[in-house]
């Protein structure tokens, strides 16, 4: 675990110095802060609209960041040979894959917390009430972004960055159309279909009081299952790769 953590720390140190990360983060933060200046809505729903737009904005920013950080990470390290001094030591391939993802996930977590603080602070100041349920939405978005990063890391051990990016977008689309395709939980394929719907809690967070603790627990299990399965797949593929 020590070596996995060491790789994760190096990934974080590298990622937070990338200019593109700061550009995406600053652009999103400015937009989040500007949400209250949008045209006013009906009395009583401003808060809900604010939360919905804020979470949608954070979602887009987090997915972009996840793609930026993970699509080229491993292919780039292999191409530039930066991976050689790492794997020529007491480091297994799976430790490298998991450490890389962990570093990306931690960077995404830092970005999610920053986004969360801004929208929570702005919401509190403008609407004069703390919107604690926003943090549930931020958590769910971070989990989905981290799953997308795990997908990119896993697939990038096998193919080129451009293919990874396209595959990641296809993965996002496929994993969010279960209800449209299968019509609902009654369909036989419903539970076998790969879905990220568990992380979509924007509606209860924006228009209600959020989700309960049980749902958060299940969501966490889904997150661990997705990330774990993808990282096992990526580690297996990377362990067979000649560098």
């Amino acid at each position: 675990m020590y070596r996995t953590w060491a790789i994760a720390r190096a990934v974080v140190a590298d990622a937070i110095r990338r200019r593109i990360v700061w550009v995406v983060a600053l652009f999103s933060l400015v937009l989040a802060a500007a949400i209250p200046s949008l045209p006013s809505y009906g009395v009583g729903v401003e808060g809900a609209v604010y939360r919905e737009i804020a979470l949608a904005l954070i979602y887009v920013a987090m997915i972009v960041l996840a793609l930026v950080l993970s699509v080229t990470r491993i292919p780039g390290e292999v191409e530039r040979r930066t991976v050689y001094p790492v794997l020529a030591r007491d480091v297994s391939r799976w430790q490298y894959v998991v450490g890389t993802w962990l570093g990306i996930a931690l960077t995404l977590l830092a970005a999610a917390v920053a986004f969360g603080l801004i929208v929570f602070g702005v919401g509190w100041v403008v609407y004069d009430a703390p919107m604690f349920q926003l943090w549930q939405g931020v958590l769910a978005i971070w989990m989905e972004a981290a799953v997308v990063a795990a997908f990119c890391v896993a697939v990038s051990t096998m193919t080129l960055p451009a293919v990874v990016a396209v595959a990641a977008l296809a993965f996002l689309f496929i994993a969010h159309v279960r209800a449209d395709l299968l019509g609902g939980p009654g369909h036989p394929l419903w539970y076998a279909y790969p879905s990220l719907d568990a992380f979509n809690i924007i509606a209860p967070v924006a228009h209600g009081s959020g989700v309960d603790a049980l749902y958060l627990g299940v969501m966490t299990l889904v997150f661990l299952g997705w990330a774990g399965a993808l990282l096992v797949l990526g580690s297996a593929a990377f362990s067979r790769k000649d560098l």
């Binding site: 720390r9 040979r81 930066t82 001094p85 790492v86 030591r89 007491d90 000649d242």
Partner: protein
């Protein structure tokens, strides 16, 4: 691969820092391209062992198989008496050819990462890094991001990260690449000091003068197999010939010497030539009688360049005749 096909070095000993037996790597299945067909080598502890060969000979692939970067098609790989897995690689340092590190990290961060991956505590790396950086010519550059490093400086930080865990074995792939002559000299001195401290060095290099200057033993690869191996002296000394270096005012050597000498080189009034071992006494006496100053009498030795070229020419001829 059958046992009979495996080439095993004659000098194989019980205790080896690195041992490779019958290494082979074929890309693209049984009918694919064989990057390495049959390579075996033994590196004795505390020595500097050169791995030579033209481009495509299989040097880097052999090193990558040893280090777990490429999956071998066949062969056994040992480091310090243990199968070459991740655990024993904690005792090994590696400098890849043309090393590259994230330009967003500082030199100190690269060393800290290398230390963590080898199980060295951060405090020990921080304590060791100033001396290590000074040792490779990067004194005071620890907090500089690698984006500001030149090609030669990247090579030096590559060497520093290979040494940060005080490894027992160091594998260097073209360590002088990208360095100026002073840097190349520094690297040679560094390798010699490592060997003097008991560290084993496996050096893969195109620079024959570098190999000749520092290596105790060499293995020469060509087309994925071992073309020659042995000590530098055994490979380069020309059997039955002695090299004589003499200085004199005369424009020509004595006639009896001229009839015996070969490989003559003249610079000003200094003559260097080879004669048969059996004629050394007579030639020295003749030069002495003629008033020549004899500067050296040593076994005739070809340069590694000459040996290398001859070896590859012979291999090409054998292939044509076959």
């Amino acid at each position: 691969m059958s046992t009979a096909e495996v080439h095993v070095p004659a000098a194989e000993g019980a205790h080896a820092a690195i041992r490779i037996r019958g290494a082979a790597k074929r890309y693209g299945g049984p009918r694919g391209f064989a990057a390495v067909s049959d390579v075996s080598l033994v590196v004795a502890p505390g020595t500097i062992h050169g791995l030579l060969g033209p481009n495509g000979a299989g040097k880097t692939t052999t090193l990558k198989m040893l280090l777990g970067l490429v999956r071998p098609t066949a062969g056994e790989f040992e480091i310090l008496g243990e199968p070459a897995g991740p655990a024993v690689r904690a005792r090994l340092g590696f400098l890849p050819e043309q090393p590259y590190f994230s330009p967003l990290l500082t030199a100190l961060e690269v060393l800290l990462l290398a230390g963590r991956l080898s199980g060295v505590p951060d405090a020990a790396v921080r304590e060791r890094s100033p001396g290590l950086l000074a040792h490779v010519g990067l004194e005071g550059r620890g907090n500089t991001r690698l984006a500001k490093y030149s090609r030669g400086m990247l090579q030096r930080i590559g060497i520093a990260q290979a040494l940060v865990a005080a490894p027992e074995v160091v594998v260097l792939d073209e360590p002088a690449s990208g360095l100026d002559p002073v840097g190349q000299r520094d690297i040679r001195n560094l390798m010699l000091s490592l060997a003097a401290e008991g560290t084993t060095v496996l050096l893969s290099s195109h620079q024959l003068s570098e190999v000749e200057a520092v290596c105790d033993e060499v293995t020469i690869l060509n087309r994925g197999t071992v073309a020659a191996e042995g000590s530098i002296d055994d490979l380069l000394n020309v059997a039955g010939r002695t090299s004589i270096r003499a200085r004199g005012a005369a424009t020509a050597l004595p006639a009896d010497v001229q009839s015996l000498m070969e490989d003559v080189a003249v610079s000003g009034n200094v003559w260097v030539f080879a004669v048969p071992d059996s004629a050394v006494r007579a030639v020295v006496d003749s030069l002495d009688d003629g008033g020549w100053a004899i500067e050296s009498v040593v076994p005739k030795r070809s340069s590694l360049e000459e040996y290398f070229a001859t070896l590859l020419d012979d291999e090409a001829l054998r292939e044509v005749s076959a």
